[in-house]
Amino acid sequence: MKVPALPSTLSANPSTAGNAAPAKRSLPRVEPASIILPLLAGAGVLLIWTALSQTVSPDLPSPLRTWQESKRYVLDPFFKDGEMSQGIGRLAFYSLMRVIKGYALALLFGTPLGFLIGLSKFASRALDPLIQVLRPISPLAWLPLGLVIFQRSEPAALFTIALCAMWPTVLNTAVGVRSISTDYLNVGRVLNLPRRKMFFSIILPATLPYVFTGYRLSLGIAWLVIVASEMLTGAPGVGGFLWQEYNSLVYSHIILSILTIGFIGFLLDRLMGAVEARFKTT
């Protein structure tokens, strides 16, 4: 675009005068501090952990002992000696499979429910109070009900994951629909778009960033719930393993399980964060 030279009394906004350069995506530069500081913090935790195991809590295995007793599980993560003894990778895989199924159920029911509540005042007024009551219920409370309904531990676990994990998806989707700019809707209206096209061409894409924020939060909850549900049902997986090793007095494996749960949760969050960023529109 050509900008004619004009008297300087006119204010020219440089950001609007020319072409806005497309944002360049470069690899994040790693600062030394962002590596050294977490390492220092980690070392501090190890120190406190060691001190605790040496003094007040003799039953707590020290970091070194934890490593020695967990080495095989980590270095050979997919070994299988029997149901009771499997590598941590194999256990994590079982847990992940269960989470994916429950999570898929949560999205399957949560997404349409969110759109319904966002689009319909009627549905919103009917369902909002109900959701506010259901949302704070702990997975530990849902699981026994799931066992009563389904009689088997596997579907009960999926039921629990889905019920606990769907709320962030429902609420974020509903908020996303409600916060669509009236300008967008007005464009749809002056174009006389039919309802179906209005939904698929405007409402759905405008809501997607919110939906994916909901998906990310839901996945975090699904992963939280899996451990509780496996501990209660004794299903094979990281949570089940944790409880089994507690009962077998192999305390170092509790710590191994905890760390595994943390790492996988972190990776899942990063993964969904990347997916979410793809749908961010300005």
Partner: protein
């Protein structure tokens, strides 16, 4: 002027019920716009000029009176009116071309996909955005985005263009650039335009007639000025015309008179 107006507003009024009783935003708006005419609606912010326009857009229903476009009373939004909003309102998930195509697909469903694409491309070329077709709105400057908004309205080939303060969010330079561009495009088509603005110079540059609104509440048409300048107009030539300053003073005197009379602002949603 044609005996039969393209757009006719008759006793148009809008009243909102409030807990304190009914709030009259606009009342008794009577206006006839002929085919090919460029009319500006000018007034202080909050005076109800945008309310009148939104009724013509079909996004708002009048409480009294009616608006007739062609032979039909306006009873809702429709593709016979091309609308440019204050903000460009392009969908950020579509490219500029796809944004225009969304409108073309809707207005001309009987054309082949290739013809519709050509239609969108032509509209983009008209506003000088042919090279930006495949870019997303976020990659464009504010001025280019509003150009695309105008292209979308043009691509619909509507009976009338409705412009709601389309340049008010732009910086001074870009605003002048787009005003000249709109003037150029309009001279080619002479499409009927109803434009809301609060910029006196903009109205004088573009319009055949300037409709001045009194201040709200209960705003109505105060005066109508026929702009005396011959077309095609050029901004630089207008500035040399003594008539220009007389017209400008008269408009400003009206608006200032309104301001002194009723210093209330933001009486209604703009």
């Amino acid at each position: 002027m044609n005996p039969r107006p393209l757009l006719e507003l008759m006793q148009l009024g809008k009243t909102y019920p409030t807990p304190q009783g009914p709030a009259v935003i606009v009342r008794d708006v009577n206006l006839k716009i002929a085919e090919g005419e460029f009319v500006c609606l000018i007034g202080h912010s909050g005076c109800g000029k945008s309310t009148v326009l939104s009724i013509v857009m079909g996004l708002n229903e009048p409480t009294t009176g009616s608006a007739i476009l062609g032979m039909r009373e306006i009873d809702g939004p429709g593709t016979d009116r091309g609308v440019v909003f204050q903000s460009p309102s392009l969908f950020p998930w579509l490219t500029v071309e796809q944004n225009i195509q969304l409108a073309v697909d809707q207005v001309k469903p009987r054309l082949s996909p290739a013809e519709r694409l050509a239609c969108a491309k032509e509209a983009l070329a008209q506003v000088g955005l042919a090279g930006e077709a495949d870019r997303h709105p976020a990659e464009l400057s504010a001025g280019m985005r509003q150009r695309a908004g105008i292209a979308r309205a043009l691509a619909m080939d509507p009976k009338i263009l409705l412009l709601d303060e389309p340049f008010s969010l732009l910086d001074a330079l870009t605003r002048m650039e787009l005003q000249d561009e709109l003037l150029r495009i309009w001279e080619q088509h002479r499409k009927t335009v109803l434009m809301v603005t609060h910029d006196v110079d903009e109205a004088l540059l573009l319009a055949d007639r300037i409709v001045m609104m009194t201040n709200g509440p209960a705003a109505t048409i105060g005066r109508i000025m026929t702009v005396p300048f011959a077309r095609p107009r050029v901004r630089a030539q207008l500035a040399d015309n003594p008539e220009y300053y007389r017209a400008r003073d008269s408009l400003i005197a009206f608006l200032e008179g309104q301001g002194n009379e009723l210093p209330k602002e933001e009486q209604c949603p703009a």
